[in-house]
Symmetry: D2
Subunit: 380 residues, 4 copies
Amino acid sequence: MSKKPLNVAVIGYGFMGRAHSNAYRKVGNFFDLGYDIRMKAACARSKDKVEAFASQWGFESTETDWRKLVERKDIDLVDICTPNDSHREIALAAAAAGKMILCEKPLARDSAEGIDMVKAVEAAKVPNMVWYNYRRVPAVTLAKQLIDEGKLGRIFHYRAVFLQDWTISSDLPQGGTGLWRLDVNAAGSGVTGDLLAHCIDTAIWLNGGVDKVSAMTETFIKERMHTLTGKVEKVGIDDACAFLARFKNGSLATFESTRYARGHKALYTFEINGEHASIAWDLHDLHRLSYFDHGDQGIVRGWRSIHVTDGDHPYMGKWWVPGLQIGYEHSFVHQVADFLAGVTQGKPASPTFRDALETQQVCDAVLKSARSGAWETVQG
Amino acid sequence: MSKKPLNVAVIGYGFMGRAHSNAYRKVGNFFDLGYDIRMKAACARSKDKVEAFASQWGFESTETDWRKLVERKDIDLVDICTPNDSHREIALAAAAAGKMILCEKPLARDSAEGIDMVKAVEAAKVPNMVWYNYRRVPAVTLAKQLIDEGKLGRIFHYRAVFLQDWTISSDLPQGGTGLWRLDVNAAGSGVTGDLLAHCIDTAIWLNGGVDKVSAMTETFIKERMHTLTGKVEKVGIDDACAFLARFKNGSLATFESTRYARGHKALYTFEINGEHASIAWDLHDLHRLSYFDHGDQGIVRGWRSIHVTDGDHPYMGKWWVPGLQIGYEHSFVHQVADFLAGVTQGKPASPTFRDALETQQVCDAVLKSARSGAWETVQG
Amino acid sequence: MSKKPLNVAVIGYGFMGRAHSNAYRKVGNFFDLGYDIRMKAACARSKDKVEAFASQWGFESTETDWRKLVERKDIDLVDICTPNDSHREIALAAAAAGKMILCEKPLARDSAEGIDMVKAVEAAKVPNMVWYNYRRVPAVTLAKQLIDEGKLGRIFHYRAVFLQDWTISSDLPQGGTGLWRLDVNAAGSGVTGDLLAHCIDTAIWLNGGVDKVSAMTETFIKERMHTLTGKVEKVGIDDACAFLARFKNGSLATFESTRYARGHKALYTFEINGEHASIAWDLHDLHRLSYFDHGDQGIVRGWRSIHVTDGDHPYMGKWWVPGLQIGYEHSFVHQVADFLAGVTQGKPASPTFRDALETQQVCDAVLKSARSGAWETVQG
Amino acid sequence: MSKKPLNVAVIGYGFMGRAHSNAYRKVGNFFDLGYDIRMKAACARSKDKVEAFASQWGFESTETDWRKLVERKDIDLVDICTPNDSHREIALAAAAAGKMILCEKPLARDSAEGIDMVKAVEAAKVPNMVWYNYRRVPAVTLAKQLIDEGKLGRIFHYRAVFLQDWTISSDLPQGGTGLWRLDVNAAGSGVTGDLLAHCIDTAIWLNGGVDKVSAMTETFIKERMHTLTGKVEKVGIDDACAFLARFKNGSLATFESTRYARGHKALYTFEINGEHASIAWDLHDLHRLSYFDHGDQGIVRGWRSIHVTDGDHPYMGKWWVPGLQIGYEHSFVHQVADFLAGVTQGKPASPTFRDALETQQVCDAVLKSARSGAWETVQG
């Protein structure tokens, strides 16, 4: 069957620009898509850098002004991989131009920006999605499947952490390329929007909505050199954040994230305890799912370490043979595949901008609680 | 050298009565003590049961009234292994009678009771200790040693959980033998006093005092048959409790405990993240300590799994040979050895009643915060 | 009910003298025995050392000549904890004196000695047993139970290793207290008799008899100071040994042992692959059993890590509560309990001397094959 | 800088055809190559299948006759992904035509075929390589680096297994697409050439040449339906193979492979014990390396689990950020990158055909020993 061409433009050439470009290039080799993806344009402010990026990834053209890019008639899909402070503006313009939009997480710096974005894409009726990629790690998708099948029963507990250690040195500056995540103006917040947003997205997907939260944040290093101003400036982001939560389904949760957990590079873990079974997962061994089934015969009951590499595991029939693991980047490939399948079938794949707004609202409540010292109800 | 006889009396024949008796009988085979421990008397209300217990454990005599026991001239040390509601009363009487006192944890049902007990033993100047036994699991003692040596540097994070799953069934009754932990009158609280107290004791020992907390508790099963009244009664304990904490040293912490975490029998874990190194431990594999040293050469840096069974590991020179693990019960043996060494040297071994009161005060703040919904400062 | 007194004598005060003494003292507190064990006599050549040992462990008397000991009328059970070169002689005398005999493993230095011992105890009709204690680690006993229930089906593969690293230094001498295991005259062989004997005993118990073997041995350090002669002498033991085996049931096996595996203190592991399920175990985490059941639903199939601490696990109902592990020493306690239950019921508990002879015969075939370079059939 | 075009042709569209094609397409996005790889031609006997394959992977043309393909002037590199029985013939023709050749492992069905192939490529002076891809899993490459740096010192032991469970059912037929590995004529041997060849290649790379071996093989299921003849035929391959080995450096080794190890999909593991340090690796968690350094301070010595995802780990600077793992397929990408770097620099990247012949010679000795029952010296 013939495939419809799909012209893709990526804005931003950083870590996410690479991860998404890889997904676009690769998805068609492994998944049957209704579309023939074309690497149409890359966009970034630096002409040299965007050309090098385009050359490396096979983009046919480049732009240095995203406004020009979103107006190009030959672009079908705009992928926003820029720092958080430009998500809203680009998304609104892309929606107005009728483009499909994929936006890197978090949706925005806060809910107010996010609401504008949701309104824009819904008014424009353009397919849209946010890159909360961990939903599509096969082990995580399997967790969702097991929960949906009722294997866990009533949920009592949810706990998640996202631990890193890359900002412990006080010599590390803030701001600019690669370091905008430490600049509160660019990022909106610190670990809350960057890391906890992932945990919250997964949690809402697996366990439903969050009712209220009690949080604390800390900025361990109060001042850092700002690479853009050349001055030592106050650090505005949260270096660490932990919160208690009550979900709408009655379960209790703890969430924690920090960039000061020595020994952990990107340790996102979650565990869910249900009446009949429990599940745990860990980004450092993302191809495994831990599962405890109380229904097993007593003397041989134990946590199972499932090597999620079989043909009947989510997405894995598309890859290699049992026992051979895939990695981090594949979650993005799956997301493109699902997004396009959703477009083809007219059923939006989640998380849409609207879905991602819910995560933003939890983040807002978390940051509000950290300031107020009180429990805060999630708005939305 | 000749050893001083030490006549021990144990009140209570349950799980802890057995664990302590085993420690008294065994310690002299492995540790050089200044005392020759004699199993002098066992005490419990049921004559049949206490006699069976005494016979099994080699006690020379029995009592059915603890008041008579504490007044006996031939008893040097009274060990309180009864439910929490009797700790205060027995301890006060034993102190008045000038006995050494070892009391099962938690010290009391609340700080008010605890303060009375501290006053009593300090006024009587009797050696005293509380059975927070996990401090003397060799891997935990090693953690303390590493922290005291400065290997971790500034501490950023502390997290601990104590997860069980034995009360998920609503058919389980409350009250009476083996089930008094579900009866709020006997226990004082649920997981907070039973399990989090362990976590807090270790945390204070390793990381210093707690400044303030924000907590939530939940009772998932609201009513249970009471074995003593034969009626379905309201459950007064907390089935689950989680709290955020700020330590006096500026570090942030999360604590959680529940008896509704399917798949976990007694999973007490803690992790500490410092500037230079991190440490983690797990009661389900209590003979191991996980350690990450950022000072290791970069390409071979990784979490080390230390098999704490070498002769130069804490306490381990007294046991077998490298590679051969000890178990849960040995922590009690170590505690008796340290207690008696402290008596001999005139330096009280911790945790004394006063040390344990601090844990009680954190528990009080936690339960208060769970009721108030606000951050509460730890009194004391 | 009243219990029969059982007067126990232990010959040898080393590592095994301690481990066995601990078992005798402790077993009655946890197991219901028909016997009241009395620590009657300790025996060793050094008067000072045996008296210190007797004092530490509560033996009522001491002997410095094992010949006198075995003739004492007040001794019911003789426990041989001496180096291998004296097993035969002591056992023959003890059998002639009508004593129950427990002998530390290996039974003897070779099968020829072992056959004499089997004949002696069988002629004398005295209860007898060899301390292959790992059979009675609860996780290993559970493995036996699962195999006997048919959960594995046809067995295809067995593999075992016993890895240590304590003799890598060429400065370590051979011979004498604590080092007789390096002296071929005292030990009979190196890792084959010391470590592989454990592996073979377990394997025969779990998987049946061994048909034939092909082996290699190596002595990495050819000469060591001998502590008894004060001279550098040739090392006669095998430092390492590996062999292929075919079991009578058609399964294939690999076995390996060494004292030159850096990083392993006492890593005895085995794995068994059957048609329907597989089992693995590891002495460094002896309280766990790994189990893979192919009958589990495909998408949630995985190796289960069973925490063997529940009341319905072998022996564990006698100890603490679920989640609280026991250690190495408990396997000896279990062995005493089973031995005495066997005596009471008139059903010898295994491994008897005869059972242990089978292990000796495999060891002989292994050492013979290492010399011949050919496959050797196990005699017996 | 401008890049030289490199026209690649892949023969075979199976598992390896896909894995290699993915590598060719992807390598240029992540590695700086002197070549611009072009997917020029795919070749397979079935016209329909090869066209579907070419379409999926972006090959510009197709062939159904490999003889025609190797003669095409517009092909620079021929990649042989066919069953083993055609490796020799295709390689000889491709060498004669002056093509660069990459050949899927094992090099051939036996050394005799392999020698012809080595002669052909060396006579033709064409760059050549065999796809022993596991050398280029970053954790394995790191192991090589640590050994080359002398971190392990003298090597005492090497052990490797490759365990699978996919052929346990007797219903599984032999021969034809996807099942040729069970047909001795197509494959040459069973697990020896398919799986042990990987283990041997790594071992030679890490530990040097093998001197002699003692082996056993077994075919558990003696007859299987042959899909090409439609008849039940004798199974000629080895289902399982284990062997003892002595390396030229004096170290001892055990190797084992089977397709009857229930619970293991593709569990390739190796462990190396040196005087100063040990290393272990496991394909099921291929992004980790276990490392034990005896030089660490005694009380904190332990096996380190290195998450091989940092920028200074082999190859990892080309991928994502620390903590984010890559998978199986990336080893092929690395191999293409290294092969082309070797071509550019005129230094052949290993394993060349000649290197791979050495593995073949060990395989031959293993199979010979399994037949003879004697130790066999490796020829070569």
